[in-house]
């Protein structure tokens, strides 16, 4: 355990006042001199051949400065298997396919010009269901793979399979077995700030792009590749990230609209801004992967888990982005939540003519937890064991190595379970009927970053000025989660200054150090560790300077005091003494001697030391850096084994619900979330983050659903895509942070960004089952489904 002054406190976020006052600059607020407005023409069909694109009328419209299509621009491939293109040629495979775009002097002209573009299509039969897409003779979404070789089916070439132990023999000897089929829908991240960018070129054809991203440095690489494709090999990209109004995974990949803005900016020679409307945000940005899961679990007579078999089918949509890699994270809870020796997991991913999927908070884990944690309740019931007791019997323990090779360090799962049971008054409320019930579900997630790329590194630069203030330049991204809040407290604590002396600066690839991206709940964890390393170096340099300047500064200060106060007697210190750096300590902006920490005369403000170093001949300054890359491993592609994260996070969530059996409406009476967070950095930020996660998770549980008919989104607005808002939260949400003080984390902290919503939906479903005895297996748990299930139960009890 660390003795801390600021870490663990409860302070407002440094970025909050600007956001609350409307001063923060989002992409929507940014204007560049001479800027044009870009607008994209999307496909009119889910699957069609492009016969002809007529842009002549758009080109002639007054105010239009550039019109681009796939036929008059260089081919730019996007996505990690490069099966997608910035502008489509030949055919469209989803409604959101970009077929043309314009840049014009104002948004209305741009819109008018887009409406003047005529595209002639030959419609093709589409495929919209992943099972149908796997059937023989199904229309092919892609006739060739990214390398041009013919494709014979709709399988995405990203297979996932994990096996451990002996499934068949475990199945034969299990005392109890429970089986279930579970589904999750497409859902949209629903960021308050829609996506957008401004692309511009300098006179040397270097690209500057302000854009909404969580991966400024990987995006820089993507854009450099695009420049190369445009014949600008060797030119540079500078990515600048404005204030983000939420991102939730949307910024983990680069998008068609960014490349289109780049093409339009290059063609027009002017900055080009593209900001998605809310409707486009729904229809043209990548949502969370929908899943169909078949799960079977078994346990022995004592209720110890014996095996787990999970088969999943994922609808990839028409192109491949990070959604296709979410099974790597689903695998974590499937292999390692609770102790289970025999595991089989397989995920198949299929192309369809639906919108293509990407990352969203939790990265597959909410889909996996939905099937796992509902099925755990089924199994506990089959075995005749209370589901809380069942989970306790199988809970993970510290220092365990799981079948996937995950090395658990600290583990607070047992305490999380106990906390939720206690706060829900479990023993008294469980199984009492009266249309009221309680349910719980647990989660397992990376808590010490996750090595999904070859590097899992992050850089931090610490720059001290002669006012004793510190600029912390970080590669991570603040997207609303509290990165700046966490990092400023951690940096202040590690360095020995007060948090008000720290400014965190992020989001510019030209000035900030490299970082692989803000994902996998890694921001505070990795940047915090890097800040501790950089602070250590800075302290060494401060103390080195102090050895020379400390006593002279003490002398000067005391002489000045005597001047003001003639009665003051100059103490008899050895003012000529050269100190040793190891004699010093720095705390709350003051350098002092460890031996005499209480002596008010032997204290020198940090800024005096720094100023003395600047204002001398052959002076110096303090700028330190650190690159932290956690001790974790990439998954072995074949065996799917490897210690992906430096530490893991656990949590349990519980709900008390009441079901209106006449309308099917589920009312939450109380919600409890207990999370093993390692160590709290800022009470306000962490509770806000978990609270936000819970509310987002409750939306997933109860009402969020991206509805489509034959690939076309039917609810591209908040009128009909329902997320929860403040008046819906008429019940207490109690958050308990369980501190396990992990040695890997900054001051013991683990990453907490995503888990708030992972276990929420199954906790609600399990509570609904306890209340009225019906199990809803496909999200969201709508009144229509509950009422129909109650009716079925009545007819066939």
């Amino acid at each position: 355990m660390y003795d801390t002054r600021f870490v663990g406190g409860s302070v407002p976020r440094p970025d909050a006042p600007d956001k609350a006052a409307g001063k923060a600059l989002y992409i929507h607020d940014l204007i560049r001199p001479g800027m044009l407005y870009g607008k994209i023409k999307f496909s009119d069909h889910a699957h069609a051949r492009i016969i002809h694109i007529d842009t002549s009328r758009a080109e002639r419209l007054a105010g239009v400065r550039a019109v681009v299509t796939g036929y008059n621009t260089p081919e730019i491939r996007i996505g990690f298997i490069k099966d997608n293109f910035a502008l489509k040629k030949g055919k469209v495979r989803q409604y959101r396919d970009e077929v043309a775009a314009v840049a014009a002097v104002d948004p209305d002209v741009a819109q008018e010009a887009v409406d003047l573009i005529r595209v002639e299509y030959e419609e093709l039969p589409g495929v919209f269901d992943p099972e149908e897409a796997m059937a023989e003779g199904a229309p092919l979404v892609h006739e060739t793979d990214p390398r041009g070789r013919p494709k014979v089916d709709n399988m995405v070439p990203v297979p996932w399979k994990f096996e451990a132990g002996d499934l068949e023999s475990a199945k034969r000897s299990a005392a109890f077995i429970a089986e279930g089929r579970y589904e999750t829908p497409l859902i949209q991240q629903s960021c308050m700030g829609t996506a957008g960018c401004i692309a511009e070129f300098d006179l040397q054809n270097n690209l500057i792009i302000h854009t909404k991203t969580q991966i400024p440095f990987l995006a820089q690489n993507d854009f450099n590749q695009a420049l190369a494709a445009m014949g600008l090999r060797g030119k540079r990209t500078r990515v600048i990230v404005p204030t983000l109004g939420g991102s939730f995974g949307t910024g983990l990949d680069t998008h068609g609209y960014e490349y289109i803005a780049i093409l339009l900016a290059y063609k027009s020679g002017r900055p080009v801004k593209i900001v998605l409307t809310r409707e486009e945000e729904f229809t043209a940005l990548s949502p969370r992967q929908p899943t169909r899961t078949h799960i079977i679990q078994g346990c022995d007579a004592a209720g110890r888990l014996a095996f787990r078999e999970v088969r999943m089918l994922l609808d990839n949509g028409a192109y491949t982005s990070w959604g296709a890699t979410t099974p790597s994270v689903m695998m974590l809870p499937i292999s390692s939540l609770y102790r289970v020796p025999n595991v089989f997991y397989e995920a198949k991913i299929v192309y369809t003519n639906n919108t293509y999927c990407q990352a969203m908070r939790g990265y597959g884990n909410p889909q996996a937890a939905w099937a796992l944690e509902c099925n755990i309740d089924q199994l506990a019931e089959t075995a005749g064991i209370d589901p809380y007791e069942f989970r306790q019997r199988n809970a993970n323990v510290p220092d365990e190595i799981t079948p996937m090779g995950l090395q658990i360090t600290t583990c607070g799962l047992d305490r999380c379970l106990d906390t939720v049971a206690e706060k829900l008054d479990w023993k008294r409320k469980r199984g009492k009927g009266g249309a009221r019930g309680v349910g719980m579900a647990s989660l397992f997630h990376v808590g010490g970053s996750g090595r999904v790329y070859r590097s899992d590194g992050t850089g931090v630069i610490m720059k001290l000025d002669d006012f004793g203030c510190v600029s912390v330049l970080a590669g991570g991204v603040e997207m609303g989660q509290g990165f700046i809040s966490a990092l400023s407290l951690t940096a202040a604590e590690a360095l020995g200054v007060t948090p008000d002396r720290v400014s965190v600066l992020t989001g510019d690839t030209a000035t900030c150090p490299w970082d692989v991206g803000t994902h996998a709940s890694r921001g505070a964890f990795t940047a915090g560790n890097a800040a501790i390393m950089a602070a250590r170096k800075a302290r060494e340099q401060i103390f080195q300077l102090a050895s020379e300047h400390f006593m002279p500064r003490v002398h000067a200060n005391l002489k000045r005091r005597r001047k003001r106060d003639p009665d003051f007697e100059l103490p008899d210190f050895n003012y000529e003494r050269l100190c040793d750096p190891s004699e010093f300590e720095l705390r709350e902006n003051v350098v002092f001697l460890k031996e005499e920490p209480e002596n008010p005369m032997l204290r020198v403000p940090l800024e005096e030391i720094l100023r003395a170093a600047h204002y001398k001949e052959q002076g110096t300054m303090i700028v330190t850096e650190a690159f932290y890359d956690p001790c974790n491993q990439m998954l072995d592609a074949r065996t799917c084994r490897g210690n992906m994260s430096a530490t893991y996070i656990f949590g349990t969530q519980g709900a008390e619900v009441e079901v209106d059996t006449e309308t099917g409406r589920v009312r939450i009476l109380k919600f409890v979330a207990a999370h093993d967070v390692g160590r709290v950095i800022n009470q306000q930020t962490i509770k806000g983050q978990i609270y936000g996660g819970v509310v987002q998770g409750l939306g997933y549980a109860l009402c969020e659903e991206y509805k489509s008919r034959e690939g076309r989104n039917l609810n591209p607005n908040f009128l009909d895509y329902k997320i929860l808002s403040a008046p819906d939260l008429d019940f207490p949400i109690e958050i308990e942070c369980i501190e396990t003080h992990d040695l890997e984390g900054p001051f013991g902290a683990k990453g907490v960004g995503e888990p708030g919503l992972v276990a929420t939906a199954p906790a609600v479903a399990n509570a609904v089952y306890d209340a009225v005895g019906v199990r809803i297996t496909d999200l969201p748990i709508t009144p229509e489904k509950v009422l129909a299930a109650l009716k079925r139960k009545k007819e066939r009890p």
Partner: protein, 284 residues
């Protein structure tokens, strides 16, 4: 959104005149919370809009053996009115459940009716309160009961140049109780179903009963068949069960992105029964 001309006449006659000169595609705008959304969605693109905001007589709230509401009264004013809360609780409850305070500050009671959404939250309570509408036009005024106003989704009896000017709600009779209930997917939502009930009781017997339901037919619906079941009887469990069944027989819902036909039919019965029970409890 396409550009458009915008007029703010100060008098009704001026508005009628503008409409005549501007031609068939011009439209009136009240609060604008529906029309502007539809314009941004490119569903409609009127070349000119005539605002009713400056016409003072449309924004008045007054009394004349009952309540007179100018059509441009903001919903927020209805929501805050203590008189409405005391005399016409079903209307107060309906307005309080509509959208959110920001919208209610701008949206108007007349706009909610003229928009003619089958789910309009003001319609069922005004129907059970027996409200009449005054419609003005270049040729003079006419009045009609609110339930005769709607013709279909987005369609009313208003002729192009006509304006809904006022809503008259009869005075509350002692022994009256009323209630409004709404089901949405979340708190701030368009109704999946809404329902209003009004009863006038005499010695435990229901002398008058008016029931209305929204979002379960092309227009908000008065349930006259069910009302006849109730009148002259005591609201006992047997009658309430009959009401539930009766409602299911009278509604004509559809399946859309918000709910299903089956659900709306089933639950509109429940909602009306509960509204009736609540109205009986409200009797003073």
């Amino acid at each position: 959104m396409k550009g458009f001309d915008y007029f703010q006449p100060g008098r009704l006659e001026e508005a009628y005149g503008l409409m005549e000169t501007l031609g068939a595609e011009a439209g009136y705008i009240a609060g604008g919370t529906d029309i502007l959304v539809r314009m941004k969605q490119k569903i409609i693109a009127p070349p000119a809009l005539i605002s009713l905001r400056r016409i003072e007589e449309l924004a008045r709230m007054g009394r004349d053996r009952g309540l007179l509401l100018g059509s441009m009264t903001p919903l927020r004013a209805l929501e805050k009115s203590e008189e409405i809360a005391a005399s016409y609780p079903c209307l107060s409850q309906a307005v309080g459940s509509l959208a959110n305070p920001q919208i209610r500050n701008v949206a108007t009671v007349g706009g909610n009716l003229c928009n003619a959404a089958p789910s309009a939250d003001c319609a069922p309570p005004l129907m059970v309160l027996g409200a009449t509408l005054t419609i003005g036009g270049p040729g003079g005024e006419r009045t009609l009961p609110v339930e005769d106003f709607f013709e279909g989704p987005g369609r009313t009896v208003l002729r192009r140049e006509e304006i809904l000017t006022g809503i008259a709600i009869p005075e509350r009779v002692p022994g009256t109780g009323s209630a409004f209930l709404k089901l949405g997917r979340v708190s701030q939502d368009i109704a999946v179903i809404n329902a209003a009930a009004l009863v006038i009781m005499e010695g435990g017997v229901c002398r008058t009963c008016r029931l209305a339901v929204g979002a379960v037919a092309p227009t908000p619906l008065r349930l006259r068949g069910v009302e006849r079941l109730v009148e002259g009887r005591r609201p006992d469990p047997e009658l309430l069960a009959e009401v539930e069944r009766g409602v299911r027989g009278e509604v004509n819902p559809i399946t859309d992105v918000r709910s299903t036909e089956e659900y709306r039919r089933e639950v509109s019965g429940v909602l009306l029964r509960r509204a009736l029970e609540q109205a009986v409890r409200d009797v003073r």
